[in-house]
Symmetry: C2
Subunit: 227 residues, 2 copies
DNA sequence: GCCCGTACTATTGTATACAATTATACGGGT
DNA sequence: ACCCGTATAATTGTATACAATAGTACGGGC
C-alpha cells in the first residue's frame, strides 16, 4: 500500500495537512490520547497514510491551539489540563460569553435567530427523552451559533478556542442527566433575551450561565461540562 | 552562498522554524509588509537563507495567530485589520485586562512586583525626556509583566494574542506625545493598587485604562495605540 | 557493583525532489 | 478586437533523503 492509495480512503476535499490536523484535534479532544502522551510524527503519518511533512505542519497548529506542546528536538506531547485551567476557562468565558450575548443581540441575523430557536426547542425534546448525547451536541451548537451571531471574528475566535477545552473535559466522564436540561433552560432564556433585543439581560444571563455551568461541574467533581 | 553559511549569520539558539516565525511576525507587526500582501515561501526562504520547509511551518503558526491568512493552493496573505477589529479588541481587552489585574493582585511575585515598579518609574523618566520610543517599549512591557503575574497561562495567552494587534496598529503612525505619559500614569495607579492588594481597584483601573486608550485612539483618528 | 564514555538507535529538523494546482501568456477562431 | 482553449510558467502541496540531536545499551575502568 503506497501513500496514494490511502489518499483516497476519505474525502479529498481538504489537503492532507488539514485532514491530519482535524483528525488529531478530534482524537485529542475525544480523549484517544492520554495527557502528556507523546505523539510521534512517523506513527501518526503511517496511520493516516501520509508523510511526515503534513503531520509536522499540523503539529505546529495544534501547538498554537494549545492542544499539544512541542519540545524542540524532543517531541510533541498532549497538553494536560489542570483543574485550575478549567476554572480559569470558565471565569474568562463568563466575561466573554456575556459580551458575546450582548453583541449577538445587536447583530444576529434572522437565519441565525431561527437556528437558535430551533436548537432550543429541539434540545427540549431530547431532554424530555433523556437523549444525553444529542443534548450535549445541541449544547455545543448553541454556543457556536451565538459566537457566529456576535459579528466579531475576533471574539468568535477566542471563544471557540476556549470552548474546545470544555469538550475535552466533558469527555472525562459521561454526561450528567441533570445539568443538560438545566443548561438548555438557561439557553432558552438567553435566546429569548436576544430575540426581544434586551442586550443587558442577555449579557447577564450568558454570564450567569457560565458560572452555573462551572458550579455544577465543581459539585460533580469537575467531571461534567455543559455550557 | 549555501544554506549552511546563512545559518550562522545570527544566533543559533533557536531552530530555523522559530527564527523564521519570529522574524516574519516582527516584520508583519512592524508594517514591513502591507496588508493583503502575498508572502511567497521561496522568497522568504531565500531572504533568510533557509529552505521552504521551516518557512511553511512558520506560516501555519502565523495563520493560527491570525497574522496571515492561507488560501489553499494559492498563497499566504497578510491579514488586514479593520477599524472594527481594533474596537473589538479594546472592548475584549477591557474585560480581560481587568480580570488579569485582579488575578495579578492575588498572585504577583516579589520579583514581578519589583519589575513593575521599576517599569513605571523608568517610564516616568523617559516621559519627562520625551523619549517616545522607550516609552512605547515600556508600555508594552508593563502589560506583559501583568500578564505573567496573573498566574494563568490561559489568560496570559489570550491577552498576549490580543495585545499583539495593538502593536500593528501603533505602527501606522508615530507615537502620540500626549497619550504616552497619561498611559503611564494609569499604569502607576494600577501598579499601586496591585501593590496594596486592592484587587477591586486594580480591576477597575485596568478596565478603565483600556477604555481610555481606545477613546484616545479614536480621538486621534485610530492611529495611536498606547495601552 | 558503580560510574562514565562510546557506539548505536530512534526521532526530530531541514533540504530537496517531484506532483498538483493555479496563474499567465499566447495564438487561432470568430 | 474579443473570446476561449491550450501551453507554459510560477507556486503551493507532499514525499523523501539526509543532517543533527537526544535517548539507550553496552562495555571498560575503577
Amino acid at each position: 500500500m503506497n501513500h496514494y492509495d490511502a489518499k483516497h480512503d476519505t474525502a479529498d476535499k481538504y489537503s492532507l495537512r488539514v485532514r491530519v490536523f482535524s483528525k488529531l484535534r478530534a482524537d485529542i479532544l475525544s480523549g484517544r490520547y492520554a495527557e502528556n502522551e507523546e505523539l510521534k510524527e512517523m506513527a501518526i503519518g503511517e496511520e493516516m497514510g501520509v508523510s511526515r511533512t503534513p503531520v509536522r505542519e499540523a503539529f505546529r497548529q495544534l501547538e498554537l491551539e494549545g492542544l499539544i506542546q512541542i519540545i524542540p528536538n524532543k517531541g510533541a506531547y498532549v497538553t494536560g489540563i489542570t483543574e485550575k485551567d478549567v476554572k480559569d476557562i470558565y471565569i474568562i468565558r463568563s466575561l466573554l460569553e456575556g459580551l458575546c450575548a450582548r453583541w449577538a443581540t445587536e447583530h444576529i441575523t434572522q437565519a441565525q435567530m431561527e437556528e437558535m430557536e430551533e436548537n432550543v426547542y429541539l434540545a427540549e425534546f431530547h431532554a424530555g427523552k433523556g437523549h444525553l448525547d444529542q443534548l450535549a451536541e445541541l449544547d455545543n451548537r448553541f454556543h457556536d451559533i451565538m459566537y457566529e451571531a456576535c459579528n466579531s471574528k475576533l471574539l468568535e475566535h477566542h471563544l471557540k478556542d476556549l470552548h474546545q477545552y470544555v469538550l475535552r473535559v466533558r469527555r472525562k466522564t459521561l454526561a450528567n442527566a441533570n445539568r443538560g436540561p438545566k443548561s438548555n433552560e438557561e439557553h432558552k432564556n438567553i435566546m429569548e433575551a436576544i430575540k426581544t433585543g434586551n442586550a443587558d439581560l442577555a449579557e447577564e444571563l450568558a454570564h450567569q450561565h457560565m458560572i452555573n455551568a462551572y458550579d455544577n461541574m465543581v459539585e460533580n467533581g469537575l467531571h461534567e461540562a455543559y455550557g
